[in-house]
């Protein structure tokens, strides 16, 4: 089992030119990407971009208009059962039968896949820390407990692909921390391909190895989190008395174009080592410097930048 995201021979999940139309409206447009065992893949996009539609097509709840999806090499279209045997999932909210107990819910799902023992059910219950309340009716559960029960049902049959839609929804910080560690463990130690969608971008930053960004049904890019962050790095903000003249001086003497010019600041896209040179030049030219800060973009800023500043969902 790989330690990082190096592609293995066969992708755990493979989307091939997946297109979905509702009537004449194209909701998902020619989506192709691959997810490998041993990685946590984040699926990002603003509301209505088609994240949930894509997840629904992966688990067979919706049919694709064109293209195909393979799970461990099995087509969701033509080998639905073999494909689904590999998948554990929560789609949107983990809706369970409220009039049944947590345990009865798990027994219900266990009966649908051969070979799940009572011991395995209890093992999963222990894993999500619901031992004390598992024999209570689900209607008495808090949102966080329902979420954990949802994770439990997704893990029952040792899936090699785990798809979690907004998994941290309703979890407390400790719960989020535990889930994150567990997902890492699953992907690193057992080689499970984990697909996560979340609107908590900072959470994604900590949880995911690679991120796929989808906007208006199109895939904008698939990048590793470090590449994703890296593109935004290297900007340095100089707070000065006169932004305009500072920008001119840097342009004339160092032939650097300012990334942004404000009345009291400029931002330059320069490497770390060049900062003293710029400071020297500005000081010599009698520009007053009040501060030098290197600007790192958060995933969220980067996300807004890529998706065109739309609200995040």
């Amino acid at each position: 089992m790989g330690i990082n995201t190096e592609p293995q021979k066969q992708p755990a999940v493979k989307l091939e030119h997946v297109t979905k139309k509702f009537g004449s409206k194209t909701v998902i447009d020619d989506l192709s990407f691959e997810i490998y065992g041993g990685e946590v893949f984040g699926f990002l996009g603003p509301n209505g971009a088609g994240k949930t539609t894509t997840i629904r097509m992966i688990v067979g709840l919706m049919r694709m208009t064109k293209g195909n999806i393979f799970i461990q090499g099995h087509s969701v279209k033509s080998e639905f059962k073999q494909a689904m045997r590999q998948v554990g999932a929560i789609v949107e909210n983990p809706e369970m039968y409220k009039f049944l107990t947590g345990y009865q819910n798990l027994v219900h799902y266990a009966r649908m896949i051969p070979g799940i023992s009572k011991e395995r059910i209890m093992e999963v219950v222990k894993l999500v820390d619901l031992e004390d309340r598992i024999h209570e009716k689900v209607k008495k559960y808090s949102l966080g407990m329902r979420q954990r029960l949802g994770v439990a049902q997704a893990l029952l049959h040792h899936p090699s692909v785990l798809i979690l839609d907004e998994p941290t929804n309703g979890l407390d910080p400790q719960g989020i921390h535990d889930l994150r560690n567990y997902l890492h463990e699953l992907s690193r130690k057992e080689g499970v391909a984990v697909v996560v969608s979340s609107h908590l971008l900072s959470e994604m930053q900590l949880m995911c190895d690679r991120i796929g960004i989808i906007k208006k049904g199109k895939l904008i890019g698939v990048e590793t989190v470090s590449d994703f962050m890296g593109e935004g790095e290297g900007k340095v903000r100089f707070t000065v008395d006169d932004g305009q003249s500072a920008a001119q001086i840097v342009k004339q003497k160092l032939s650097l174009d300012a990334a942004s010019i404000e009345s009291d600041a400029i931002e330059l896209a320069i490497e770390h080592e060049k900062i003293p040179v710029v400071v020297d030049t500005l000081v010599v030219s009698q520009v007053k410097i009040y501060g030098v800060v290197s600007v790192t973009q958060s995933l969220e800023d980067r996300f807004l930048e890529v998706t065109g500043g739309k609200s995040v969902g």
């Binding site: 629904r56 688990v59 067979g60 709840l61 919706m62 049919r63 639905f80 059962k81 073999q82 494909a83 689904m84 045997r85 998948v87 999932a89 929560i90 789609v91 949107e92 909210n93 983990p94 809706e95 369970m96 039968y97 409220k98 009039f99 049944l100 009865q104 219900h108 799902y109 009966r111 649908m112 896949i113 051969p114 949802g150 049902q153």
Partner: protein, 318 residues
Amino acid sequence: MANFLGLIQNENMKIYRRNSAKVFAAILIGLLLLGALIVKLNAPEHPTQDTHWKQSLQQQNTQYQQALTQMKDNDSYQNYYKSQIAINQYRIDHNIAPDRQMTLWSFVENATPIMILVISIFTIIVVANSIASEFNTGTVKLLMIRPISRTEILLSKYVSSLLFSLLCLVVLFLFSWLIGGLFFGFSGGEAHLSYINGAVHETSWVLATWQNYLLDAVKLIMMVTLAGVIAALFRNGGLAIGLTIFLMMGSNTILALISQYDWVKYVLFTNMDLNQYFNGQQTRNDMSLGFSLIVLAVYYVVFLGAGWLFYTKRDIKA
């Protein structure tokens, strides 16, 4: 196959663990008790022993004969009077006096039509909820992402709903027998007289009762299947329940309005009452048991096909 039994177990769990299951049981047994109580309270304390019952039946028969000649055009009345005359004659010939009082078995018999209607309504509720409510609650998503085809899931829901009505029939039989016995005495009651193909037969009450149940169950199965189709189409349990019960209750009124047309014999509701071929009270003489069975089979296959398409071929957006 083991997997399919698991699916049936799942659906059973979802039917009987709901609070509605307790309500169904309470209504079923409560209605039987109420019926028995009303009959008991209204019964005369000292029933008059009619020693001239043979004469009374004879009189009744001459009245029926007159009615027969007046009602020449109506198959339904014709057949009804013919059967009553034949049974009365059989009683006179074989010296079997009609019951003056409610007995265990006449209670069981009288309870059958209304109670089977109640069971039909329960099963319509069960099947409609089983198929549609998971779309409303969202549980259908976690149900459908298992390595099981939607056809198997739909079939398990349908079969477990029919098993529910079978269980209801068993409960009905046991409790109407028990309550009938407790209120009207476990002894008494002679053989059951039935009129089939122009002849009167004596049969056992247990057999006659179950024959009744099973013949009524044909209507039940058709209505439950229809409810399932509507539930699969609209993914709305309330609509399926309301529409099916409306059709079931209103069918007689609608049929009466259109009874003069010849094509009425191809209408589902005309053919659902198979009892008419066994109690000699056929509504139209241009129909037969075989005819009705074929018409029902055609409707049934169409229902199953439509329900299957609606359930398995559409996207799940819940």
